[in-house]
């Protein structure tokens, strides 16, 4: 910046070079390679072979893929509303001046910093139908708990429940930041107009919180399309394939079945999904605000 000529180029290379080299080698290069791979067949051991659109045609005809897609959407439809509601509730409660507020905030955020593998294992044990704490507590209030991860109808709800527990603090943190940006005067004005608690929430808080809500929603959406760690550890896609999801299929096809090209095609489908849905959400937000 302050040097001239070749010294300036050298300085720039010093500053940008490492990052650029790494980005090309480990991020952008692989992205382009993956695009190429989507049109090839490759088992990692014998040379790759160009197959045109065959991988995408196979994708279209593969009932396993459609089922994984359905499960991914099932996860999303259960997870997103719940995590947003819990996160919003927690943010509203912990935005009020209650005793121990900082302590509560820290506690709610604790699961967010815990490794997914650890969380998944703890919940797998909590939800153990015979010896776990959850069914024991349900039993105390006279309820017969389900088989959770062993029951094809309850396995996905169990994964959703675990994910909501882990991510509530994440949504809460984003919304708390949003709430703190709302000027106090708005509330004071509303109070003078005689607005009650519910009215203040409806007409002041929520509209002004909308950008933060959209932000949290978009991030949650992007992340939930990529749900993997919890499924891998808690169910491995079972029972009877009731919890197979897209990223799990991608990893399975690539690294267990040695179908690198097919896995790449699937991953680009996933990218398209993520891209389109976050684009749609942005459009929606623009129109709404």
């Amino acid at each position: 910046m302050y040097e001239r000529g070749w010294r300036r180029t050298l300085t720039l290379a010093l500053f940008l070079g490492p990052s650029l080299l790494g980005m090309v080698l480990f991020v952008m290069g692989p992205i382009l390679a993956s695009l190429g791979l989507a049109f090839a067949r490759w088992d990692l051991l014998t040379p790759p072979e160009f197959v045109g659109l065959a991988n995408f045609r196979a994708l279209w005809a593969d009932p396993e893929f459609w089922r994984a897609l359905r499960h991914t959407f099932g996860f999303l439809l259960g997870y997103i509303p719940l995590v947003m509601l819990c996160g919003l509730g927690a943010a509203l409660v912990l935005n009020a001046r209650i005793p121990g507020r900082d302590f509560f905030r820290a506690v709610y955020f604790l699961p967010v910093v815990t490794a997914w593998v650890a969380v998944a294992l703890v919940w797998k044990w909590l939800l153990n139908p015979g010896y776990g704490l959850v069914n024991h507590l349900l039993g105390l209030v006279g309820l017969q708990g389900p088989g959770w991860l062993f029951d094809p109808n309850w396995a996905m709800p169990a994964v959703i429940l675990t994910s909501v527990w882990k991510d509530t603090g994440f949504v809460m943190a984003i919304l708390l930041a949003g709430l703190q940006n709302i000027p106090r005067e708005y509330y004071e004005a509303a109070a003078i107009d005689g607005a009650g608690g519910a009215a203040r929430l409806r007409y002041v808080t929520l509209p002004l919180l909308a950008p933060a809500l959209y932000f949290a929603l978009t991030l949650s959406l992007i992340n939930s399309f990529q749900v993997f760690d919890q499924v891998y550890v808690m169910t491995g896609g079972g029972p009877a394939g009731a919890t197979t999801v897209l990223v799990e299929r991608i990893v399975k096809n690539a690294f267990s079945y040695s179908q690198m090209g097919y896995a790449a095609a699937m991953s680009w489908f996933l990218f398209a999904l993520i891209f389109l849905s976050s684009w749609a959400l942005t459009r929606l937000q623009r129109r709404a605000l």
Binding site: E3, S19, F26, G100, L110, Y131, F228
Partner: protein, 280 residues
């Protein structure tokens, strides 16, 4: 006035109660984890479950340490996370600075390309990335664990935004004194970048500490295992069923350092996580 006051108090205590209930839900899994890890094998499957271990013991921790190189795994994870964090800070602060302060042809296009990579899920790149790392001969090495994790558009983006917000006059003084760009960057800018570096550092450390899919794919050698990998392995280590007291002991060992980091640097953690959209 008194009536209103009373109602306010009620609402106040209601909210506190609600927050407390939520906190119980949030903490109970951690307590159950701790409690199970302190049980002897014979008490794990007792009915009804013992909420608190009747005869607390460190047996499970000893068993984990005996059958698993847990200290080594712990140090591996620490080493990898520390190296990743340090590397990220160096690489990202320099590239962020370049994007913020240099003018060069194609800069904005390149920056847009950086940002575009943020939208591509890891699942897309994981296969070719594996092949790149294989070609470099880095499977089953620390290099393979650390180096690919050093690069990401997020760090560059975060640092660039931060440097853009700093006034240029700060550097001008240094330049008048005849300092080089590097000296200016290292002596003037970096010392001012504490908050951004802390945010990015905590983010990198957490991402590395908790990372699962990548180590799962490139590490086979048990001597290079990181904690999340070790935990997943611990689950299936013994033929037959999962030994829950051992698994929970392993989980406690993996979770505690993150909790400590969080309690020490709560503000940066929350900021790093919410700024990046990264969860766990």
């Amino acid at each position: 006035m008194t009536l209103r006051r009373a109602r306010l108090d009620w609402a106040h205590w209601g909210l506190t109660l609600l927050a407390g209930l939520g906190a119980v839900v949030m903490l109970l899994p951690f307590l159950w984890m701790l409690s199970t890890s302190l049980k002897p094998a014979s008490a794990v499957l007792s009915l009804p479950p013992e909420l608190l271990p009747r005869e607390p013991t460190l047996e499970a921790y000893r068993e984990v340490a005996r059958s698993f190189p847990i200290v080594r795994v712990f140090l591996n994870t620490l080493l990898v996370a520390a190296a990743t964090t340090l590397g990220q800070l160096v690489v990202s602060s320099m590239s962020g600075y370049a994007f913020a302060r240099f003018r060069f042809a194609g800069r904005d296009l390149l920056f847009a390309a950086y940002l575009a990579t943020l939208m591509v899920p890891f699942a897309v790149t994981v296969t070719p990335l594996f092949i790149v790392v294989k070609a470099l001969g880095w499977t089953n090495t620390y290099w393979g664990l650390v180096v690919p994790a050093l690069f990401g558009a997020f760090g560059t983006f975060l640092m660039r935004q931060f440097f853009l917000a700093l006034p240029g006059e700060l550097e001008e003084a240094a330049v008048l004194d005849g300092a080089s760009t590097f000296t200016t960057f290292a002596r003037v800018m970096l010392p001012l970048s504490g908050p951004a570096l802390a945010t990015l550092g905590v983010f990198s450390f957490m991402a590395s500490w908790n990372s699962f899919l990548w180590p799962l794919l490139i590490v086979n050698d048990p001597r290079l295992m990181t904690l999340p990998l070790a935990l997943a392995t611990l689950q299936g280590l013994y033929p037959g069923q999962t030994q829950w007291n051992l698994v929970m002991a392993g989980t406690v060992i993996a979770v505690i350092p993150m909790v400590v980091v969080f309690l020490l640097a709560q503000r940066w953690v929350v900021e790093g996580v919410t700024a990046s959209g990264l969860k766990g």
